[in-house]
Symmetry: C2
Subunit: 197 residues, 2 copies
Amino acid sequence: MTSEQQCSGSRIAGCSFSIHPMSDNFIEIITNALENVDTSKVWMQTDDVTTTVRGKMVHVFDVTKAIFLHAAKTGEHVAFQGTYSIGCPGDSDGDVYMAADDKLQNADTVKDMQQPVSAKFSLYPLGGGNYMDTIYEQIEAMKQQVTVQSSHYSTKLLGETLAVFHGLEQVFRATEESGSSHTVMTVSISANSPSHT
Amino acid sequence: MTSEQQCSGSRIAGCSFSIHPMSDNFIEIITNALENVDTSKVWMQTDDVTTTVRGKMVHVFDVTKAIFLHAAKTGEHVAFQGTYSIGCPGDSDGDVYMAADDKLQNADTVKDMQQPVSAKFSLYPLGGGNYMDTIYEQIEAMKQQVTVQSSHYSTKLLGETLAVFHGLEQVFRATEESGSSHTVMTVSISANSPSHT
């Protein structure tokens, strides 16, 4: 792979994400969140801009959801920004994690966490002409999970963190299963914001 | 427009973005940054997740760059997350701003600001099959502006804020002018991070 916009050649999924605690204690909050999450079933790498996890789709969502929840439970205003991707032509780092089983490592520790959030997501099925139809279908599907509102360049979601992530995973999986060869989904989530209404 | 993933029908550009100061003073930092930036040539709306600006491409970049710089000059660890979009089928809010002239409202106040950053960007020319070629061409073009490194799902940029934004604007404009009917570019920028190397 010679390009700098690397991604995966098989059906390995991944997410490049950042956790932003709006607090002087941001380092401690991020470090504690990472320590509380079992990342043994994903490839993981952190640099000074984002953290990237890659592996089976179920574990990518399990890990990102858990890290966000452990940061948000501090009560500080915390933002999550993530780009989920699957099917991008690219490298093979982390392919070994595709042999993991499907048992979620973090579902038990977060299953009772209540954390209302506001979120925005955008879905980009790349390389095909009918991508807007796919987007509209998946926005309809999301309404089964959480409150959905119009927004510029994205779709706004209001609800509990667990429901929001469940909806996001469903939408991402359905888009991939519908035949999109390369799917990207960007997500912004805000918890404990003083401007939440 | 009946869908919730709204965007523009003409060639109006826009950006949905968030500024995340990792500081207890995040409200003051964001408020001060907004007060120091002239937003008179863009349509602007803020909710509890992001701020959206829309108008001519030059003003969208002028305003987002200036807001980030005014927040980063506090010396706090500040992250910027933005989704730039042009050509998405959609609504017509803000079309009146397309009548503005091209004189930049904030270029003078930021032109001497030095602020090294680490950034990641991803380019998504939607609806066409040769999108990866466009991406690779634009990554090459970016190397004229800043240091470029490989990264998963994105391209990493290291340099001065002004050079990074100049490169991003060039890449976004070139992609649109190459005939992409709907172009999305996501950008993550980090300033004053304790983990910058």
